[in-house]
């Protein structure tokens, strides 16, 4: 496990209360890792600290304890190595689409000539289908187009890792689907390592290699890590024909609806080890019926991690 691209260890965050004392931790004992080229989604109810975790990975926020190591280095403060796509797209409204992307590119390669910066930025905007809107201001763009600019800006600096904070949350279903498809193809082409927050179970199955399920806060923890075992060449139009799809989907929805509360505080299973949260592969569960929803029954050929650490 030493060649993990990103390692998160013992991460915890508590915000000070009104009287200045440290409050109850929003989340604690967060351990997970991401391999190079992996797409990881984090799912959980509001208030479990997903955005805080992402901000800590981005270097925008500081953890109360714990470390984040990316590519062998501790994350301290923001870096061009990690591109961030913000939920609110966060485009600078006084700059055109092109200038918004150039703003980042100029930072990444300060020695480049203006023409080079422009060509590079244009290329990435064309990649997200905005070749026609280079000289428009963000206020002239639709919500989906703005988010595309945000994605182009993050990709254009060619970061080692991309952090997406619920990028499609504010979009209508149709636009969301189109941009998801675009993201799938870009990520597949670039082998980009991605960490993404989402509330959308279908989105996480479409995009992710593994889904981190957070229990509800305070004292939120990683309840499970669900491996999405569907083949990588997924598309939105065919994914639901795969028999694994509904097994995984049911598992995720069941967690969010029924089980996410159970993990809070002392009610944890005795064999729960935060360093190695249970890894489940509901897509590969052999049973035909509801067994996919029960994480504690490891499939015989793939023993779960927590089952191993039990002893």
């Amino acid at each position: 496990m030493t060649q993990n691209f990103l390692m998160v260890q013992e991460l915890a965050k508590s915000f000070p209360t009104a009287n200045g004392k440290p409050g109850a931790p929003v989340f604690e004992d967060i351990h997970f890792s991401i391999q190079r080229g992996e797409f990881v989604c984090i799912v959980g109810h509001s208030g479990c600290g997903k955005t805080t975790i992402l901000n800590i990975l981005a270097g925008l926020d500081e953890s109360t304890s714990g470390v984040v190591i990316m590519d062998g280095r501790e994350v301290r403060g923001p870096s061009l190595d990690r591109g961030v796509v913000f939920q609110s797209h966060a485009l600078l409204p006084w700059l055109t689409t092109l200038k918004n992307v150039e703003f980042g590119v100029r930072s990444r390669w300060p020695d480049w000539k203006a023409s080079q910066i422009q060509a590079h930025s244009t290329k990435y905007l064309e990649m997200v289908g905005l070749g026609q809107a280079l000289h428009k201001k963000p206020s002239e763009l639709s919500g989906g187009m703005k988010q595309r600019v945000g994605i182009a800006r993050a990709f254009a600096i060619q970061p080692k890792m991309l952090l997406l904070d619920e990028p499609f949350g504010a979009l209508d279903a149709l636009t969301r689907g189109t941009i998801q498809d675009e993201l799938v193809s870009i990520v597949q082409a670039t082998h980009q390592t991605v960490f993404m927050i989402t509330h959308d179970v279908d989105e996480s199955i479409l995009l992710a290699d593994k889904v981190i399920l957070m229990s509800s806060g305070p004292y939120a923890k990683i309840a499970e890590i669900v491996e999405v075992t569907l083949p990588r060449n997924r598309t939105r139009h065919t994914i639901h024909h795969d028999p694994q799809y509904y097994k995984i989907r049911n598992h995720l929805v069941d967690f969010l609806v029924n089980r996410s509360q159970e993990y809070a505080g002392a009610e944890l299973a005795a064999d729960y080890d935060p360093r190695h949260p249970p890894v489940v592969r509901p897509g590969l569960a052999v049973d035909t019926h509801d067994s996919a929803n029960v994480p504690d029954k490891p499939t015989p050929h793939q023993p779960l991690l927590h089952a191993v650490t039990k002893n």
Binding site: V84, S88, G104, S107, P138
Partner: protein, 280 residues
Amino acid sequence: MDIHKRWHAPLLSVIIFGLFLGIWYLATVPKEAAVIVDEEYAKLVGAAAATGSKTAVPNPTAVAVKLWEHIKDPFYDRGTNDKGIGIQLGYSIGRVLVGFFLAAVLAIPLGFVIGMSPLLYKALDPFIQVLKPISPLAWMPLALYTIQDSNTSSIFVIFICSLWPMLINTAFGVASVRKDWLNVARTLEVSPLRTAFQVILPAAAPTIMTGMRISVGIAWLVIVAAEMLVGGTGIGYFVWNEWNNLSISNIINAILLIGLVGMVLDAILNRLAKAVTYKE
């Protein structure tokens, strides 16, 4: 329908102006009763006033004639108390611009620093809150005593009254730049200087411009009063001088021109504000 509506407001304006002139004219129609009060008194205050046949307030025509005289020859200079109205307005505008410019040079960078630093914001806030409500004219004696020059003192008074709106608005604008935009700059490792000029400044520019617009408005209000106090030159002194001459026509014309210049100053700043405004 829309074309008609577009003409409604200006048409109404013209009607209101016409009504105003009509009432003014009727109110100043000379009365018939001609009773000579006293020969010597009549000599002193002017025969018309003494007989009561004419009020001291001129009718619109008299004012218009005087206005035409001023417009025809705005820049003559026949000694201290007889300068063209253009020259007087020029002095006032010059003082306002110098004072306003000096205030902007201090207030905008200082406001920027205060806005960036919550510590400084809190530390300087009591001073700003105490100094802000002081009438700029209250500074005048102190300015005259220390500077010992009436012209510079008026400029100082303009400076001090222009300072606060620009300082407060700049600090507020800088402090309330959207966190997202700053985070974008941080994740892109943009240098602090580039962040200041390419993110914070354009983001706060509309608020800063609003402060400048308020400042120039206050400055133009204050300069008239300051020049009345200090004397010598300027439109404020002109008004006071014409009061001493009891030339109501000139005073009315000066009031009109003060309003027009104020409007033009505001329009210029408004145009500049529009240029830096962005739509989110």
